[in-house]
Structure formats: structure tokens, C-alpha cells
């Protein structure tokens, strides 16, 4: 129990991800009790204490109108900083963040309308002359950021 750590899924600008993400499941090392932790509301983060460094499997489940499929990510938990960072200090936490984008290549119209103006999602501008109601059109991809 020497180290306290938190793993989180966060938007780059700290927006509310619950418009897109329904829940997040963190799969911890089996040495933890109940290694499968489910977080249903924002903020999608999990705090624990322990000593080892291991790989955490993070699964994102989206709302049903967003995407039926889930998305798996992996994060290596780091408790100790890089070799040349000097002596450890209990005041400064070790932060390891990975930036990535989740792309929805063919979003549903409902989803699109819902998040069109939400800061969590970035929607590329539609080419001029295109309206949503015309059939046979490919919608641009949406993506949101997390770390």
C-alpha cells in the first residue's frame, strides 16, 4: 500500500465524456480484489493503492446510438519516474498520459446531431452543399479526445 494511483479517461480539455461514453471498465491485476472495476458515471477514473506496475486493460462502452462495439485500450501503470528524473518526491505525482483519438467513421445521425455542438466531440465541417437528410452520403468522422 505504499503507492496511491489513479487511472482515468479524460477529455483533453476536460469535457464531459458521458455524452459519448456509457461506462468504462478497468481491468486490474488479478492480485487486486475484484479486479474488474466498472465506472458508470463521469469522471471516468479509478483510484487504488498498491505497489506493483502492471498493464491495465481499459474498455470503453459507448451509448447504443453511438456504437454497439466496445473499444479496448491498454495502459501501463508507472509508479516510478524515469531514471534520470532525480530523487522521488512524495509531493509531485508521476503523471503518464497518452493522447489518442477515438474515431467514428460512420456516426449515426442521432449521435451526430446530439454531439454536433458539444465540446467533447470534434466534428469536421461538412462539405458545402451537403445536408444531413440526403441519403447516400458518407458522414464525416467524429472524434473525441482522451488521455
Amino acid at each position: 500500500n505504499s503507492h496511491k494511483w489513479t487511472v482515468y479517461i479524460r477529455s483533453a480539455t476536460n469535457e464531459d465524456l458521458s455524452v459519448i461514453v456509457k461506462r468504462v471498465v478497468f481491468q486490474l491485476h488479478p492480485s487486486f480484489t475484484n479486479p474488474t472495476r466498472v465506472v458508470e458515471q463521469p469522471p471516468f477514473e479509478l483510484s487504488e493503492s498498491g505497489w506493483g506496475e502492471f498493464e491495465i486493460a481499459i474498455t470503453l462502452y459507448f451509448h447504443s446510438d453511438v456504437c454497439e462495439k466496445r473499444l479496448d485500450l491498454f495502459h501501463q501503470l508507472k509508479l516510478y519516474p524515469e531514471e534520470d528524473a532525480g530523487p522521488q518526491s512524495t509531493k509531485k505525482p508521476v503523471v503518464v498520459e497518452t493522447y489518442d483519438e477515438v474515431v467514428f467513421p460512420e456516426p449515426t445521425e442521432a449521435f451526430f446531431l446530439r454531439v454536433q455542438n458539444h465540446p467533447a466531440a470534434t466534428v469536421p465541417r461538412l462539405p458545402p452543399g451537403m445536408t444531413l437528410s440526403s441519403p447516400g452520403m458518407w458522414l464525416a468522422g467524429l472524434y473525441f479526445l482522451f488521455s
Binding site: 456504437c67 462495439k69 473499444l71 467513421p105 442521432a110 441519403p135 458518407w138
Partner: protein, 520 residues
């Protein structure tokens, strides 16, 4: 080394691996170096089967050697040796042996015309057929007297297929002096088409048609009758120019109308294929046009069409799979409109337009198949897939060089902040590096070729045909000929191999060392 025996004067030498080779004996006995008195019980079957027990003096002599010198000898005991030691009889039941094998051997003897080796090689004893095949006695009997008398006669015949009563002759198999009756055998193949003939009233009542005059229709039917509905020929012979489809549709519609008019009820002729299906002239023209277009396609077009069709199929499949998953499905009208296209060109027109409207993920790369299937994916994963797709054609060495170049430029192999723009730029950068490296490699190859050509012009060796094509920039340097040529060739060959890892050698660099050599 062990002392030689008293009487024989032979030396026994030990082989290093523990194998004992006894001179004069062509057997090798493996095993540990221990004194072994042959145990009559332990006969190695391998030894005894490989070499038939030699009853000659050799075995006896080696045994006496062992016994007389007291040298520890290993002998894999054979039955012969054992019997010799124990004083048993060497041949057991000699009389019985002779009689028994001889009796069954007789039928197994090889035929006299075949040498022993060949007989054994070709299967030997097992070759005897289990069933009698042809026996000589049968051959004599076979041409038996038949019950009937058969003769062949040159007889005249007529064919019902002919209209002119021409009488021809042919050979006929006559049985018991009764010539065969019946029509000529091949007359049944003379099939004819039933072209209907209409009367004037019928024409007035049912068959008039604005685009067709009576004379034309008559001519058409006469030609149909004459040429057995071969419409290509009919179209050629038709006095006014009409397309094959036109003629066909006129003929079929007339016949159909006639059939229906003549039949007492519609059901009678409903089964007739002429009535069931109507001739679709538009479809036929379209089909023929598409067929000729397909036939005259170039290889390129063929390939493109195959790709497009495969893509359409994939899209259809993915959409069919996802239709069950999503409620508000993405628009499916596009692939549906694309797929059941009549000809090849409508299909190819639809799909490029759809690809154009879809904003491609990167500048000039297409989305890999694996990405297309995913409903959601991470940007880094997408980048990895696209990098893989690009470098799939290049070898592992090229990939490493690209990575090396990226590192030298100070660019991370995987971008730290993979936004859409960043990934696009990264991919473009990788592509450009790859292109650069490829061109560099080509340049090196070309330069090496040029140098090799220059060198080959100095030696007297005859130029091979493929080299003679590249002799365009063969320089004529008279003072270099002969003397410095050979050595320079060697030097350049060496330079060729090292040149790959250095910067491409410039021509001036190549000339300078040669000049130095010549001056030597």
C-alpha cells in the same frame, strides 16, 4: 597396441570409437571394449541376418586368434561362432532342409527367359497372375463359327432428309442375306423449325404493325423459313436494313399472336415458350453492347473493374452484417444502387463518385480494409494500419531505413499527440521518405550499371546482347584500353558493393582512382 599372434602375424588395432576391425574379416563389431566370450543365447538378429553365417574358415580363424592370444576381443556372437565354440553341429537337420524347401520351390522358379536379377527386380514371385489372362489354347478357338451369317454389301440407299431422291451407295452389314430396312440412320438429325404461315385475313386481323409493312413481314418469314431462324444470316439477307433485334422482335411477336389467335383457349398455348416469354429487344441490345464493351476492355480496365467489384462486395457484406446491429443504419441506398447494375459502366460510375464524396483519412492513401470494418477505432491504431499498408510492398530493410531516417530527423516514430492533422502529416512524411529512399536506390543501381558498362568496354570479352543496348554512353578512352582496364574493373566491382551504403558515387570520383592506376 597389442602383440601379434604367434601363428598369423597379424596385428589387431583398436579403432578410436571402440569399434574393432579385424583384418581379414569384413564385419565390424561395435560395442564396449570388454572381454566377451560369445554367449550362445545372445545372438543379435541384425548381425546374423545381414551376413549369412559364413561357414568358411574366416570365422574359425579369428576365434582361434582370440583364444590363443588371450586378447580381449569383442565379437558379437553369431550362431556359427557359438556353435563352433560349444562344439555343436553347424548344420541342423541337413537332410530335412534339402527336401522341404525344394518341393515348394518348384512352382516359384523363375521363368527361363528372364535373368535372375530382372526377375527379382520386377516383383519376382509375386508377379504371377492370379487369374488366367489369355491362354494360347483360347486364341486358337476364338474365331468360332457364328450362329448367323454376316456379310458386308455395297448397297444403294435413299435418305428421307433429301428432297431430290438422290440414290447413293454405302457398305451395309447384311445378316443372313436380309438387308436392313428403315430410313437412313442420320435422317433423324435433319430437324427443321416450324415457321408458321399466316393467311391474309390473319394478317389483317392480328398481325398489322405500324413499323412493318406486309411485304417486309412476308420477306422476313420467307427468310426465316429458308435459313432456319438464323437471324444473323437473315439480317444480312434482309433487303432493307434492320437490326437483328428488330427482326427477332417482329418474328416473335407475330408468331406469338398467331399462336394465341389460333388456339381455342389461352391455356392451350400457355405452356408454349413462345407465349410464356416475350422477346425484350431493349434488353438484348443492352446486353450485346455490354458484352462488346467487356470484350474490348483493356487489361487495365479489367483489373480496375475487378477491384471495384470486390470493394462493392465488401461494402455489401459489411453493411449486411451491420444492419442487424444498428437501428438507424447508415444509408444503404448507395451500395444497393451500385451493385445491381446492368452493365459494367454504371457500376464504375457510381463507386468513384462515392469515393470522391467521402473525405479520405489521409492525403492520397485509401483506407485499409481492416479499418473499413471497424465502427470505432483509435487514431493511433488507424495510423499503424495505414503505415503498414504503405510499407507492405517495401521490404523489412526499407522499413528500417525509413525509421532510421525519421529518427535522424528528430521525428518520433509514433507521434506523441496523434490528432487527425498530425497523423496525416506523419503519414505523408513517411511516404515521402520511402519515395526518396527508393529513388536513391534506383539511382545507385543506375550508376553502378553505367560504371560496369564502362569497364566492360575495356575488356575484350564479347558483349552479351542485353549489354549492347546500354552501350549508348560507352566512353571511348584509348589510353585506358588494355593496361589499366582489368585492374580498374576489379576495383570498380569492389566499389559497387560498398557503394550501396555510402552516398552514391559521383562520376568524377570514379575517374580519379582509375587515372592513378594508369599512371602506376
Amino acid at each position: 597396441n597389442f602383440p601379434t599372434s604367434k601363428g598369423s602375424g597379424r596385428v589387431i588395432s583398436w579403432a578410436r570409437s571402440g569399434q574393432l576391425r579385424l583384418p581379414g574379416l569384413d564385419r565390424v563389431f561395435p560395442g564396449p571394449l570388454t572381454t566377451v566370450f560369445p554367449n550362445p543365447g545372445s545372438v543379435s538378429p541384425r548381425e546374423s541376418s545381414r551376413h549369412p553365417p559364413c561357414r568358411g574358415r574366416k570365422t574359425v580363424r579369428t576365434l582361434t586368434l582370440a583364444r590363443s592370444t588371450g586378447v580381449p576381443v569383442l565379437l558379437r556372437p553369431s550362431s556359427m561362432d557359438a556353435k563352433d565354440i560349444l562344439g555343436l553341429q553347424k548344420t541342423s537337420f541337413p537332410s530335412a532342409q534339402e527336401k522341404k524347401p525344394r518341393a515348394p520351390k518348384e512352382p516359384q522358379r523363375k521363368p527361363d527367359g528372364v535373368s535372375r536379377e530382372v526377375y527379382a527386380l520386377t516383383g519376382g514371385v509375386g508377379m504371377a497372375p492370379l487369374m488366367p489372362t489369355i491362354e494360347a489354347s483360347h486364341l486358337k478357338r476364338r474365331p468360332a463359327v457364328e450362329k448367323e451369317k454376316v456379310a458386308w454389301q455395297w448397297l444403294p440407299f435413299t435418305s428421307s432428309a433429301r428432297t431430290d431422291n438422290l440414290q447413293l451407295y454405302h457398305w451395309v452389314r447384311v445378316v443372313n442375306n436380309v438387308p436392313p430396312t428403315g430410313d437412313y440412320d442420320f435422317a433423324k438429325y435433319n430437324t427443321k423449325v416450324d415457321v408458321l404461315k399466316y393467311t391474309d385475313e390473319e394478317y389483317e386481323k392480328y398481325l398489322t404493325e405500324p413499323t412493318w409493312s406486309r411485304e417486309e413481314t412476308d420477306q422476313l418469314f420467307e427468310l426465316c423459313q429458308r435459313f432456319d431462324l438464323r437471324f444473323i444470316v437473315i439480317a444480312d439477307r434482309f433487303p432493307t436494313a434492320r437490326s437483328v433485334e428488330d427482326l427477332k422482335s417482329r418474328y416473335y411477336s407475330v408468331t406469338r399472336a398467331l399462336l394465341i389467335a389460333r388456339a381455342r383457349s389461352f391455356d392451350e398455348v400457355a405452356g408454349n415458350p413462345l407465349v410464356k416469354e416475350t422477346f425484350n429487344a431493349a434488353h438484348e441490345t443492352e446486353r450485346k453492347r455490354a458484352l462488346s464493351a467487356l470484350f474490348s476492355q483493356t487489361k487495365q480496365q479489367e483489373r480496375k473493374d475487378a477491384e471495384v467489384l470486390a470493394e462493392a462486395k465488401r461494402i455489401m457484406e459489411s453493411r449486411a452484417a451491420n444492419k442487424n446491429v444498428e437501428e438507424a443504419g447508415a444509408p444503404t441506398s448507395l451500395p444497393n444502387a451500385a451493385v445491381p447494375a446492368d452493365g459494367v459502366s454504371p457500376l464504375s460510375n457510381n463507386l468513384p463518385s462515392s469515393a470522391a464524396t467521402h473525405p479520405a483519412a489521409a492525403a492520397n492513401t485509401s483506407i485499409p480494409d481492416t479499418l473499413r470494418m471497424l465502427k470505432v477505432y483509435l487514431r493511433t491504431h488507424a495510423l499503424d494500419q495505414m503505415v503498414q499498408a504503405v510499407t507492405a510492398s517495401a521490404g523489412i530493410r526499407m522499413i528500417k531505413r525509413v525509421d532510421q531516417t525519421l529518427q535522424d530527423l528528430g521525428v518520433n516514430l509514433k507521434p506523441k499527440v496523434p490528432t487527425k492533422a498530425v497523423c496525416a502529416e506523419h503519414l505523408e512524411l513517411r511516404n515521402e521518405i520511402l519515395t526518396l529512399l527508393n529513388i536513391q536506390k534506383q539511382l545507385q543501381n543506375k550508376e553502378a550499371e553505367v560504371l560496369a558498362n564502362r569497364e566492360s568496354s575495356f575488356t575484350e570479352a564479347p558483349t552479351t546482347p542485353k549489354r549492347s543496348n546500354r552501350d549508348i554512353d560507352r566512353p571511348f578512352v584509348p589510353d585506358m584500353a588494355g593496361f589499366g582496364g582489368e585492374r580498374a574493373v576489379k576495383r570498380d566491382h569492389k566499389r559497387k558493393t560498398t557503394g550501396r551504403f555510402d552516398a552514391p558515387p559521383s562520376p568524377t570520383q570514379g575517374k580519379r582512382p582509375r587515372k592513378m592506376k594508369a599512371s602506376d
